[in-house]
Structures are given as structure tokens and as C-alpha cells.
């Protein structure tokens, strides 16, 4: 079990920003001539000294890790953290700028299903083609043909050109090929679960089956629940660097911390707003009060001051907080019990207490909204900030059990009342 399957050593990947490859042969020749005559480069903008010289971006910056045989490792990180770049390097779609990657076996990426499907070829022909593109030999495909057709549920149409398939049939067939790959290293992505509900469940089951069959797996997802379900270990990427490697739960909390958890002050000046809201009453920031941090024990109330600015006279502006769990699922919404009337130019502080009584332990994000009612009684958004605040709920000090959000969800209802226990 100690055999390593993947070893990534100090890998960097640099991209040039701006007009990559946007030069023409003419520009290049002019540049070359100017250089020979020691003249100024004619293709540069005024003030620029070298083409794109400093506009470089490190998508990956010295990433190293190892994966042992049979491990399922999750890769988590925010958008732009370098996850896809890392996978592109491991799947050899593009080459690193520096560093080394060692692989001990074939890599099959299940990142994109249906790659290389050709509309004019029949389902069966496409299975061969797709399988071969993904690295299987004809013999291997022959051996698996029956299983693939069976899994795809499109047996009836297997000798019809795929251009006549419905989109559902198409992805089912494509997933089936990908799922039956026999590579030692599998790279998977949550978007793999395709088709209708029943087929999606089948896909997830199949992925779990692959994970259990002793193959080495790299799994990328934003969905922390599937990460929990499939992975033994996680690495966290942030801005091209590996910031954590280890236990799944610990990794998830590191990932969450990047969102600014463990803070009591939230400033909204940097949050992008949609252009559709009037922002008569603009949300400026939030300060948690009467406590050191934003970690609460189950059942505690969260007390905070919401800072607002009034940009126009307004009446009866209400507040709403939408709560999301750490993996991005909406948990519920709460409204303020009072509305506010504002005068132009004034600043208001709204001191509120938020009850968290039924929220299960876990990490949460709140999105804050202000709204007013139109003549028809509809709520019209006035301002919206996402995220407005983060907080974490932990078990009570004396709690005897650890909450398992994976199985139990994010709402901890009040205990059931047992009225009577009777012996029959």
C-alpha cells in the first residue's frame, strides 16, 4: 500500500496575461528587426518596455504532494486557486513551466465526458473511438463492450449514429465509457453525474464503486458533501499554492477559513452589487458584538450591528438574512421583525440578535438583503451583499455526540417529546 502513484514535485505553471499568441508574424519580424538595429520595439505601446514581460500569472506556484496507491484524494480550493491547472498538468493536456510530475500508471480523466464523440459514427463505433482516446486498447474495449452498453441504457440505439441521440442518451453513453475505464489513476469531477435523477444516482454509485475498488483517485469538487463521501484525504489550494494537506474535515475547515471565518468585522465596500437594486438603503458592514469571535455554541444567539447608509429617503425597509451551509446549500431564511425608515444622507446602525437555535454544528454563510414592498405587495430588493457574514456553530461543551452533517443535514430540530413509554 505504500507504493506511490502520483508524485508532484515543486510544480509551477506560469501564464502570460493579456494577448497570448496574439502577435502576428509581422509584429514578430518588426520586433526582431528593431532589436537588431537597437531601435525601440515598434509593436509596443508607448511607455511599455517589453512585451508582456511583467504581466505574468502564476497559476501554480511550487506545489508538491504525493498520492499513494488506492487513495482517494480530494482537491479543494476557490475558483482560480489552480485546481484545473493542476489537473491539466497531471492529465498532460499542457506542460508545467517548472518542476516534475511522476505518474505510475495510466491516467484517465473523467473530467469531460463524450470527448471525441463523432456524430456520424454509431454508438458502438463511438465507444471504440472514445475508449481509444481515453487510452484503452481495442481488446480492452471489446471485453467491456457489453458492460458499457448495459450501463448506458441505450442498447436499442447502439447501432444508430449518435447525432440522432437525445442529449440525455448521449451523456449516458459518454459516462458509461468513462466509467468503465481501467486506468490505475482516475481523475474525477462532480459534474460527471449526468442525465436524469435515476441515472445521476447510478453515476454517483459507480464513482463510489470505482473509489472502493482500490484505484487511485483525484477528485475535484466544490461540493463538500461528495468530497466527504468519496475522499480519504484532501489537499487545499489557494492562489496557486498548496496550503493544506491532510484529513478531509480539517481540509474543509481550512478551505472555509479562506472565506474569512474567525472574524467579527465584515466590510461590504469591496462586494460587487448587481445593477438592479436601487440601494436606497445601502448595507455598509457588520460588526459582531459581545463576543470574541464568530464561533458560537449550538443554541447561542448571535448579536451584531448592521451598518447602513441611506442614499434616498425611504420607508419601511425590511431586512432579510439567507443562511447557507459551508458546502453552498441554502439552509433557511430569517426576516427582521421591524422595518426602518431612513432619511437621505443619514447613517444607521441596526443592533440585532439572531437566533441560531436550530442550526446544526457547521460552518455557515449569511447573505444579507434589504427590501421594500411595491404597490402590489411584492418584495423588491433594495440591496444585497453576498457574503454578509460567516459564522461557525460548534457542539455544546457538554454535548455527547458529534453532529454528522453528512448524514443528518444542517437543521437540528428540537428534541422529540416522548410522552410516555409503556410496556406492552
Amino acid at each position: 500500500m505504500d507504493e506511490l502513484m502520483i508524485k508532484v514535485e515543486n510544480v509551477t505553471k506560469e501564464y502570460r496575461l493579456g494577448a497570448i499568441g496574439g502577435t502576428t508574424l509581422r509584429d514578430e519580424l518588426q520586433r526582431w528587426r528593431a532589436k537588431r538595429k537597437h531601435q525601440e520595439d515598434p509593436t509596443l505601446k508607448i511607455g511599455q518596455t517589453r512585451v508582456d514581460s511583467d504581466e505574468r500569472f502564476m497559476a501554480l506556484n511550487g506545489v508538491s504532494f504525493e498520492v499513494k496507491k488506492g487513495e482517494a484524494v480530494g482537491i479543494i480550493g476557490h475558483n482560480g486557486a489552480g485546481k484545473s491547472t493542476l489537473l491539466k498538468l497531471i492529465t498532460r493536456i499542457t506542460a508545467p513551466t517548472g518542476g516534475d510530475i511522476y505518474l505510475n500508471g495510466r491516467v484517465a480523466s473523467m473530467l469531460e465526458v463524450g470527448t471525441g464523440f463523432h456524430g456520424e459514427l454509431t454508438g458502438r463505433e463511438n465507444i471504440y473511438l472514445n475508449g481509444a482516446i481515453l487510452g484503452m486498447s481495442k481488446k480492452e474495449i471489446d471485453a467491456k463492450m457489453e458492460k458499457i452498453i448495459e450501463f448506458s441504457e441505450v442498447r436499442q440505439f447502439i447501432d444508430t449514429p449518435v447525432k440522432r441521440y437525445s442529449s440525455g442518451m448521449y451523456v449516458k453513453l459518454a459516462f458509461s465509457v468513462a466509467a468503465h475505464l481501467d486506468s490505475e489513476i482516475m481523475i474525477m469531477d462532480e459534474v460527471l453525474a449526468v442525465g436524469d435523477m435515476a441515472f445521476q444516482n447510478k453515476c454517483i454509485r459507480k464513482m463510489r464503486e470505482i473509489a472502493d475498488s482500490g484505484k487511485t483517485i483525484l477528485y475535484v469538487s466544490h461540493n463538500m458533501n461528495t468530497i466527504r463521501q468519496l475522499c480519504d484525504r484532501c489537499i487545499v489550494l489557494e492562489k496557486g499554492k498548496l496550503i493544506f494537506e491532510g484529513d478531509v474535515e480539517a481540509a474543509i475547515s481550512v478551505y472555509m477559513k479562506q472565506d474569512g471565518i474567525r472574524s467579527t468585522k465584515f466590510d461590504y465596500s469591496g462586494i460587487a452589487r448587481s445593477p438592479y437594486e436601487s440601494r436606497k438603503l445601502q448595507l455598509m458592514g457588520l460588526t459582531i458584538v459581545n463576543r470574541e469571535d464568530n464561533v458560537l455554541q449550538e443554541g447561542e444567539k448571535l448579536e451584531f450591528i448592521l451598518h447602513c447608509r441611506c442614499n434616498a429617503n425611504c420607508k419601511q425597509i425590511g431586512f432579510r438574512f439567507e443562511l447557507f451551509s459551508g458546502d453552498g446549500m441554502i439552509v433557511g431564511t430569517m426576516f427582521s421583525d421591524q422595518t426602518i425608515n431612513g432619511n437621505y444622507g443619514k447613517l444607521y446602525d441596526l443592533h440585532t440578535k439572531m437566533s441560531t437555535c436550530n442550526l446544526a454544528p457547521g460552518i455557515y454563510k449569511a447573505v444579507a438583503l434589504t427590501y421594500e414592498y411595491d404597490k402590489l405587495g411584492n418584495q423588491i430588493g433594495v440591496d444585497r451583499v453576498d457574503p454578509a457574514m460567516n459564522f461557525e456553530i460548534v457542539e455544546k461543551m457538554n454535548a455527547s455526540l458529534k453532529w454528522l452533517s453528512k448524514y443528518w443535514g444542517h437543521v437540528h430540530f428540537n428534541d422529540m417529546e416522548v410522552v410516555e413509554i409503556r410496556e406492552r
Binding site: A95, D100, T115, I133
Partner: protein, 288 residues
């Protein structure tokens, strides 16, 4: 623990190496690409692969009328040669040879751009695509050669032409291989350069057109004045075309010097192509 690795991915700018063993491992894929290219081309056409026959046939007819009857250009490779091959057959073999060359160059010059969808998602030895294209076109070429032989036989039976199978016939496999290497080489050089400079893609279409007129396809080599011969013969396709005609008819032009030069040229183009392709293939996804 010292461990051996099956794959070692190195930075993009590391030494050039062409992994022929890996290409061999992906031979099934190459076969399937060939099949895909060939079948997809003629799917949903009434005449199917017959189109492979019709196209050169039509071109030959057009050439016969325009260059033969109207312009009256010579169709012999050696001036004043007693043995003449029928002009129709002359144009046909030239057209078949040229159309293979031009189709392969054109298809391969776009290989990175047309296949970027697949190449952006899966790894396989990128060289598999140009190889498959060259092989798929070879099928059409084979069909066309068979058609040519049939027509030549008809001519012979009708007493319109004499067929002298010459020892040069033995060169035929070499000629075909040379054609494959040359067209693939030129194609992948262009495709490697077009990932960065799209200008070249514009050039390919009319460049090939001009090239065709610099090759004795619509006229015989006898048209070229002796003093320009050494310059004219720098075109590596020319000796292939003339030797092709010589092989089938036992009459024509052959010069070991020029032919050797063309072989050297072909080898050089092919290897430069492989080098460039190898350099580009690893990172082209970042620029395409």
C-alpha cells in the same frame, strides 16, 4: 524508497524527445481515427467513397480541356520523346498525386486548431492525429490509383496507349512513403507555427495552389527551359510526380541527383516538422 515511474512529466522547455513507443501503444487509436476520418467523410452521401474517384476524374477532364486542348501545353516530361503517354492519363496520375499531397497538407496544417476540443480534454500522443490524417487520405489515394490502373488498362486494351512497366515501378512504395512524409512534414510545420501565428493558415490555401503550378501537374516537364531546371527541381514534389509517371509508363524523366535531393529534402522537412510539433504540442493549449 526508490521507486520506478511509468511516466515522468517534465517542464515544457525541456529537451525534445519523440516517444515512438508510445505512438505504437496508441496504434488502435490511430486506426480508429483513420476509420473515423474516412467513414465520416462519406456518411450521408449517396455516392459514398465514389466521390474519391469522381473528384480527380473531374479535375482531369478540366485539365485536359483547359491545359491540353485550349492552352496546348506539352504533356511530355522529356522534349521530343518518341513514346507519348495519353494526355488524359498524364493529367490523371499528376492530379491524384497532387490531390493527396494537397489534401494532407491542408488537413494537417489545422490539426491543433480543429482538434483543440479533444486535445484540451484528453491526453494522447498528439502526433496520432496527423498520422491518422495521412493514412486516411492514403485510402482515397489507393482507390484513385486503382481507378487509374483500370482506366490505363482500358486505354491499353483499346490500343490507345502502350504500357511499359519499368523497373522504376519498384520505387513506387518509396514514392508513396515520400509523399506521406513530405505532406505530413509540411502540414505539421504549418500547424505548429499557426498555433502562434494565424497568418500561415491564410497562406495555405493559395500557397498550395501556387505550388501546384510550380509542379508539373498541368504540363509536362519538357516545358521548363534547361537553364532553369536546377532551380525548378528544388521543388521536392516534382521528382515524385515525374517518377510516378515514369513508373507507370516507362517513359519520362528521371535524374538520380534531383531525386536524391528531393529525398533529402523530404527527410529534412519531416524531421523539422516532428521537432517543431514536439515542441509545440506540450503547451499549445495555452496559446490556441
Amino acid at each position: 524508497m526508490q521507486q520506478t515511474w511509468k511516466t515522468h512529466i517534465t517542464p515544457a522547455n525541456s529537451a525534445i524527445r519523440i516517444d515512438f513507443k508510445e505512438v505504437w501503444e496508441y496504434r488502435d487509436l490511430i486506426g480508429l481515427f483513420v476509420k473515423r476520418d474516412f467513414t465520416a467523410k462519406y456518411k450521408q452521401t449517396i455516392l459514398g467513397p465514389l466521390w474519391a474517384v469522381i473528384q480527380p476524374l473531374m479535375t482531369t477532364v478540366v485539365f485536359s480541356i483547359i491545359f491540353g486542348s485550349l492552352a496546348g501545353l506539352t504533356t511530355s516530361d522529356v522534349a521530343g520523346e518518341a513514346l507519348q503517354m495519353p494526355s488524359f492519363l498524364f493529367y490523371m496520375i499528376g492530379t491524384i498525386t497532387w490531390s493527396y499531397f494537397s489534401a494532407t497538407v491542408t488537413a494537417n496544417s489545422n490539426t491543433f486548431i480543429t482538434n483543440r476540443a479533444i486535445m484540451g480534454k484528453v491526453y494522447y500522443p498528439r502526433i496520432a492525429t496527423p498520422i491518422a490524417t495521412a493514412l486516411a487520405n492514403l485510402i482515397s489515394f489507393g482507390i484513385q490509383i486503382v481507378m487509374f490502373c483500370v482506366i490505363a488498362l482500358v486505354y491499353a486494351l483499346l490500343g490507345l496507349a502502350e504500357i511499359h512497366l519499368s523497373v522504376y515501378m519498384l520505387l513506387l512504395p518509396v514514392l508513396v512513403l515520400q509523399l506521406v512524409m513530405l505532406s505530413t512534414g509540411v502540414g505539421i510545420i504549418i500547424s505548429s507555427l499557426t498555433t502562434k501565428y494565424r497568418d500561415l493558415a491564410m497562406l495555405v490555401g493559395f500557397g498550395l495552389h501556387l505550388w501546384q503550378y510550380l509542379t508539373p501537374i498541368p504540363y509536362g516537364l519538357a516545358l521548363i527551359p534547361e537553364k532553369y531546371m536546377s532551380l525548378y527541381m528544388l521543388n521536392p514534389v516534382t521528382p515524385v510526380v515525374t517518377t510516378m509517371r515514369l513508373a507507370f509508363f516507362g517513359t519520362g524523366y528521371f535524374n538520380w541527383g534531383y531525386y536524391g535531393l528531393s529525398l533529402v529534402f523530404t527527410a529534412a522537412v519531416f524531421f523539422i516538422g516532428l521537432m517543431l510539433f514536439n515542441r509545440i504540442e506540450r503547451t499549445f493549449m495555452d496559446t490556441v
